[in-house]
Assembly symmetry: C2
Homo-oligomer: 349 residues x 2
């Protein structure tokens, strides 16, 4: 039978309360008692039961804040689903989830929302960083105020965020380049669209793609690189419209192009190509795995994407911060980069 805190107390010749104080490092324990308890724990190989612990902690009312930009219907829908699943699970642990969204990627909106969550006295926050450096200060300030922040999808490595849950973004671009190489057999003319470049993850993707193409595919020529960063603060419909225009412009300007790579909004890019009614094949490589993308890929408008599982990542992020708040230590095993998925028509679920 698994030893309980009771067994440990008996073995050590102290009360359950004392064992608990040692386990949770509460102090107020004589060094003599502490030694005996630790010996007993060792001897019996005691591990605390997370279920019982969670149940007992029920009344503590932990609050976790979640903040993300609710802009791309398809992509964030799956994040939202993950949040709902986590919520259902954490509900029964007496944990409250305060979910906030912004209408765009403006880092000032993010900072405002973070302020509000701080006022609500949350015990921790999960969010993505809206800007490669403008959010560092606020995140570090939250850390100093004893509110740990876990970033996901896009990191803020120079801030004092507790942890980052997400992929290696540079490598994500490298993999995309490799798929471009496969699909084109290493030969042809490419146009590149860099979207959201002040999101760290996007900039890194772009760099990864470019460097891989340059180093490994000398016969793949990049005709031009477009930049769609300035639209970042607009609402989604404007953003989409701008992308549509850009793609239409590209198709007209580059009649000799064979392929398009876009660091994000792959679904919209595919729609734009589709709507253009051109009668030559444009190979499209991009990112993410959403319902929209799967649909367009099945119909041949997207050739491959490189993605991370945003649904699982948000769940991992929430679990990570919950455990950190509850137990005070990081699960180091959860910190390695998330796997990079490759999506082609054939392996759509």
């Amino acid at each position: 039978m698994k030893p309980t805190i009771h067994d440990v107390a008996k073995e050590a010749g102290v009360s359950r309360g004392t064992v608990d104080r040692v386990l949770n490092k509460k102090g107020s324990v004589s060094s003599e008692a502490e030694r005996k308890v630790n010996e007993a724990i060792e001897k019996l190989n005691y591990k605390r039961s997370p279920v019982a612990s969670a149940l007992a902690l029920h009344k503590k009312n932990i609050k976790i804040g979640i903040l993300y930009p609710d802009v791309d219907h398809f992509f964030w829908k799956e994040v939202n689903k993950g949040i709902r699943e986590a919520k259902a699970r954490l509900d029964s642990l007496g944990v409250e989830l305060l979910v906030r969204t912004t209408k765009n990627y403006d880092y000032r909106s993010q900072i405002n929302c973070l302020d509000e969550l701080q006022q609500q006295k949350v015990n921790g926050i999960v969010t993505m960083s809206y800007h490669y450096n403008k959010t560092n200060e606020k995140i570090s300030a939250l850390y100093e105020a004893n509110i740990p922040v876990v970033t996901f999808l896009s990191d803020a490595p120079d801030s004092k965020r507790l942890a980052y849950i997400g992929v290696n973004s540079h490598q994500s671009g490298v993999v995309a380049a490799k798929m471009m190489g496969f699909r084109t057999a290493g030969n042809g003319n490419i146009v590149v669209i860099g979207v959201h470049r002040d999101l760290l993850c996007m900039e890194e993707r772009l760099k990864g793609f470019m460097s891989k193409i340059e180093s490994e595919y000398p016969e793949l020529k990049i005709l031009e690189t477009y930049n769609m960063t300035e639209y970042r603060k607009e609402e989604e419909k404007f953003y989409k419209a701008a992308l549509f225009e850009t793609v239409a412009h590209i198709l007209e300007k580059h009649p000799d192009m064979d392929a398009l790579y876009t660091t994000s909004m792959t679904g919209s890019a595919a729609q734009a190509i589709k709507n253009s009614n051109i009668n030559r094949k444009i190979i499209l490589i991009g990112h993410e795995n959403t319902e929209e993308i799967r649909g367009l890929m099945k119909r041949g408008y997207i050739d491959a994407t490189v993605y991370e599982n945003q649904h699982e990542e948000i769940i991992r992020a929430i679990d990570l911060i919950y455990k950190y708040i509850k137990d005070g230590d990081l699960e180091y095993s959860a910190l390695k980069p998330s796997p990079l998925g490759i999506l082609i028509k054939e392996n759509i679920e």
Copy 2:
């Protein structure tokens, strides 16, 4: 605040015991009481707390049997890790895991082990099917004896297994064929090795691969298809030796071959090519994602594999049967096929 069973009882004007009987369909409840309870549950939007439930069920001592062939060091090592993780989690729920392994894929060994687990009075079993049809009868008999069986990795669809956790194997072969198409640019001579063909998953992989090549890549010629089913019942070292010989034979017999596809044991196939010291490039496409395969892929001996995450699958399978034993119902959301991963050098973690 979340409603508890107590709130429901108060709302319905009955005792907690009665609510519990309704919740767990224990019978012995008047239809009048049942109606009132259900109304109260509806009204309060009551959901039972899985943590509290698990804690209370602690004394019940549920036993789950797990059975798998511990043959390929690298592949099954990760299954084993998943089992250990699940064990640690279930330990604190008072669940006992009886883990059994066989030394090969002989279905008779499997049936013997299943018999033994039945004698141990397990409440459910997780295993893979060792043979496309010879295990159906035993699995169905277990079901009749009220011991549900969940298959993973390789299914027994014609048996009364409770559920299958794993990928669509046919599609797995299709994706492999697509990767072959990418890598060869749709042109060249292929040799195929069909391993373990009386495992349903392997046979389906092979069929998926062949059909995709035939239908989509007319310029890819399959020179020959080797069959390595008969070695299935041997121990691993014999199996590997046989594969080494086969690959050496293939390389000699087909000097015009460009690529090799193998339905399993991709690591060994790569080792065999490596050891042969031939000085032309043989493209190798196979399956799985193991430490061995990642190492050989990084060094260029494997070009791509299609895999399922065996680590997550065993965990999902164990959780599924645990919940079924505990709550008596299947989590239908867990039943869709697992995702098919594509591994190339660039997206190795």
